[in-house]
Symmetry: C2
Subunit: 279 residues, 2 copies
């Protein structure tokens, strides 16, 4: 089995590394427009060879597209135009637009839309590592639009990475992503911006980082190449969440302003409800 990885970053690189170690594939071909990433991927034995997209697709059995979401639709179409029996899957955190883009493609059934819920705040092939996916969840969207064989193969692939597969409608997926993941990143970026604006002496940030700041700001280390496209591609869902979130902040603000203990207690108690869900 030969796997092609288009976009050798944290996710693509980690998938390639682990699938080869676990002998799911015996060769990994890399496609990446970034020459530095090509070199690192070869040096770190994440990929065995580098080819052009066209050559790589023709040589392989499974093709993974793991590039920023604003480019996924275009590259996916290019790949589907080239495939015969190959199976193609992507790993982006937005699914509806990508699926719509190839909806009428004659090879639509060869494509499986997935979103493995895993990652770190680091990026690039140098961040790729084995074990990233263990015990995590992978979401497969609109599986009825893919061939049974393709869904089975990709499900197996994620099982091998230690993940549980669940199924979701693409539209629902994008709303949930906005609420549970994308807003967390915006919240974290803005926290970092506020603190750095105010705290000209970095020592004060360091001294107090243990007081909760470190965990809420971790995601602010995430890179623009991945996140700017996510924010714009999932625009309508994210704007809705952002409005909700700012509304909640304004509730806190007016309760603090008015020394409204009862209201603050009530807001905090409601927020504590998250304990029951996550513990």
């Amino acid at each position: 089995m030969i796997l092609t990885v288009i976009g050798i970053g944290l996710i693509g690189g980690s998938i390639a590394k682990e699938l080869k170690q676990k002998k799911f594939c015996n060769k990994v071909i890399g496609v990446d427009s970034n020459i530095n990433h090509q070199k690192i991927a070869l040096n770190n034995k994440i990929v065995d060879e580098i080819y052009s997209l066209k050559q790589a697709v023709q040589m392989s059995d499974i093709i993974l597209i793991s590039i920023p979401v604003d480019n996924t639709s275009k590259v996916l179409k290019e790949v589907l135009d080239l495939v015969d029996k190959q199976i193609v899957f992507d790993v982006g955190s937005i699914k509806e637009k990508v699926i719509q883009h190839v909806n009428a493609h004659q090879k639509r059934k060869n494509f499986v839309a997935t979103h493995p819920i895993a990652g770190t705040e680091f990026s690039g092939p140098e961040a790729a590592h084995i074990g990233l996916f263990k015990g995590k969840i992978n979401i497969i969207c609109n599986k009825e639009e893919s061939s049974k064989e393709a869904v089975e193969k990709i499900s197996e692939l994620y099982h091998i990475l230690g993940m549980e597969n669940i199924y979701m409608n693409a539209q629902d997926h994008d709303i949930h992503s906005a609420y549970v993941s994308h807003i967390s990143h915006i919240s974290s970026f803005c926290l970092a911006l506020s603190v750095m604006d105010k705290e000209k002496d970095e020592k004060n940030i360091l001294n107090m980082a243990g007081s909760g700041f470190e965990s809420t700001v971790r995601l602010a280390k995430s890179n623009k190449e991945m996140w700017t496209p996510i924010f714009t591609e999932n625009k309508s869902n994210i704007l809705a969440v952002l409005n909700d979130y700012i509304e909640k902040l304004n509730s806190f603000k007016s309760a603090i302003k008015e020394d409204d203990y009862e209201k603050l207690n009530d807001l905090i108690l409601q927020a504590n409800g998250i304990k029951k869900i996550l513990n």
Copy 2:
């Protein structure tokens, strides 16, 4: 050496437990209005005996006040009214109001205002544990207003817990606390509220929690007994930060609305600056 702990919660209980284990004191007296906390503290051997505040102060060498910040000033004054040579310290995350409250007290020099930067999202004596403070920072405020002997003793106490002592003006401390810690908690409470409002099916939250949500929402498990008083007592600083923070969120919002890639890239790149400070 006999230590009295007024308010046997996560912080007070953890300090008591570790100081006794490390033989800094040979007896710990507990004072707590919550009978359930008294029982747990006795059962878990966090304290050796329970006394009234007056008896406890008279029997001990060092008195720790570890209760919610809205009550600290009042209890501190009661304690200072009773002390002779005893040393008193508090651990609250707001310092200016407390210090002002006892500024003119004839026993002011017996009091050391501290803020150990440590904690978890859990609370109560059942959450108390050894090792909570190791490698963390303790802030001592306005140390020139305390006697040299008192500052030395309390510094030694925190060293024994494995902490580094740093010194700060109380006013600065409260501003930094608002920026680096308190806003993180508000941000996290509001994230939890937004997500739970929208996601009526808790499974979706669980499935996607790995995508950054879990770390940003951890602090939303924090309790109202501690945080409502902090928000109202540090009101003016917190309102200033909250305004800044909402402004940053609005910048993100308009950049997303207008598909302004350049602006989004720029905001994320600026936020990434936190890497240099925290790594």
